[in-house]
């Protein structure tokens, strides 16, 4: 009984994981590459969902709606980026400000309603939850896997280019980047835009998948994104060195997150406690490397002193 219901919920969990995986890759770009914790994404996810749903309801092609949602995400990132680099507001606060503002903006987009439905019976959609257990090309899993691979491929290419390398340098060492003639402010803005574009794209997919956009659909999104990043790193960090594989690890991390989620729900966890659990897990995994770094240097120092010499 337990296993059949778990098995039944597995395709849905994987689909959700794939959708949130794209979002988590966006979070990875800011959190790991730019070294900025961008809290805009909670609002951006809903903005992407709202934009896509309202456009499709207005008769716009669902593929075009996805692209426009992506563009809306770029805009969200641009605003946070400008608040941070041109107005001197710390990145975290800049993100919170945009996120809060987006709540109102998203309500505007959705015609002052907190929720807008998008039935797959009435509109042609990119993907829908309804077909997730079907053995046909309508099954969203195929499309989502393809999209994830494309996103990872494009990002792998971009971060290997001159421009992409300069963004990596901006995150790794801004002082060095400027000394090498890199406009770090412009790169931070560009990175935030790209990240939020992906998040909004993911939001647009999610809204279509579940058949509605909700003004609160992005709440806690940053934490889920971080959870995916961290799960991916913990499990694959040692073996996935290549950048594309690192992004793949994030996507798989999101899938694992949703499978585990299903598991604990099946085991009888109250849905209301989910966000508490997610926060605890992320906090713990963020803390462990810090604790390790506080213990390890001492050991390393002792070891070095034991050798009695120093290397050049």
């Amino acid at each position: 009984m337990f296993f059949t219901s778990l098995l039944n919920s597995l395709p849905g969990a994987i689909a959700q994981g794939l959708i949130w995986g794209i979002m988590a890759i966006g979070v990875y770009l800011t959190f790991r590459i730019l070294d900025v914790a961008d809290l805009t994404v909670d609002g951006t996810l809903a903005a992407g969902g709202a934009t896509a749903v309202m456009l499709i309801r207005a008769g716009v092609d669902h593929r075009l709606a996805l692209l426009i949602a992506f563009a809306a995400g770029l805009l969200c990132g641009l605003i946070t980026g400008l608040l941070h680099t041109r107005c001197g507001i710390p990145a975290i606060l800049a993100g919170i400000l945009t996120q809060l503002a987006l709540y109102s903006v998203n309500l505007r987009i959705m015609g002052s309603k907190a929720n807008q439905a998008l039935s797959v019976d009435k509109y042609k959609l990119t993907l829908s939850q309804r077909f997730v257990r079907e053995l046909s090309l309508r099954n969203p899993l195929f499309l989502l896997m393809l999209l994830s691979v494309i996103v990872i491929g494009v990002l792998y290419w971009f971060f290997g280019t001159e421009k992409g390398s300069s963004i990596r340098a901006t995150g790794a060492n801004p002082a060095m980047a400027r000394a090498q003639g890199i406009d770090t402010n412009a790169n931070v803005v560009l990175g935030l835009m790209l990240s939020n574009g992906l998040v909004a794209f993911s939001g647009a997919l999610l809204a279509q998948y579940q058949g509605s956009a909700d003004v609160n659909m992005g709440r806690g999104g940053i934490v889920i994104g971080l959870a995916a990043v961290i799960i991916g790193e913990v499990i694959f960090g040692k073996v996935f060195i290549n950048f594309a594989l690192k992004l793949l690890a994030v996507a798989i991390g999101a899938i694992i997150y949703y499978i585990v989620l299903q598991l604990v729900l099946q085991l009888g966890l109250n849905t209301n406690d989910l966000k508490l659990l997610t926060s605890l897990v992320v906090a713990l995994f963020l803390a462990v490397p810090y604790w390790q770094s506080r213990i390890r240097p001492r050991r390393a120092k002792e070891a070095k002193a034991g050798e009695g010499g120093r290397a050049c």
Binding site: G160, T161, E162, K163, S165, S166, A169, N173, R178, T184
Partner: protein
Amino acid sequence: MLKLEHLCKTFNAGTVNEKIALADLNLHLKEGEFLTVIGGNGAGKSTMLNAVAGTFPVDDGKILIDGNDVTHMPEHKRAAFIGRVFQDPMMGTAPTMQIDENLALAARRGQRRGLKWGISREEKEQYFEKLKELGLGLEDRMSAKAGLLSGGQRQALTLLMASLRKPKLLLLDEHTAALDPATAAKVLEISDRIVQENHLTCMMITHNMRDAITHGDRLIMMNEGKIILDIAGEEKKKLTKRELLDRFAALAGTQEETDSVLLS
């Protein structure tokens, strides 16, 4: 090549921590000149270098590099003219990027960065040869992360990065201060070679008087944001540490300041 005219910079102006770092500083550096800069703590040496590099805006005065007024140019644009090596070995490289990637970033200093691949095969071959010349064995570790290198190796790599695209001006900010004596000597030797081979105009801050005397062809001493001693040519070649100290004592006056130069 480099002209500093009436440079002024005060930190924390109007507060109890007010510090006049540059007080109407003037300096003219000719093309190909290798200048060493000495002075006690807080004399304004690093402030001068950072003002030239554009780390912060100056309060007053003008900075000209090869005739271009760069006084109001942002740091990343000025970088087109300037190669830099910092005191802190961590500052000059991107630790999470590979050695060859760091070099590729530096090779594009002052260039537009587009959507071409970040590093080419020919470049890698060129970097292999250049790294070999350093004599540190880095050529066999080109895909290692720069963060894995020792302080000396990083400074050598940063020097190579600074000279990969020939700068009009090379700024060395006590780049051997964080190294042990043997490594410092090696990095200084590499610095000398790179400056000579590329005929670079160079400014080097050092805390070590002997290094200031034995390297470069001109020496200035700073105190309280001004240049108080400027020695070049034959006179510099004959200069001894003792003589330098005596002249500093005569100029700067107080015993306390002499000690700060001596002991630092």
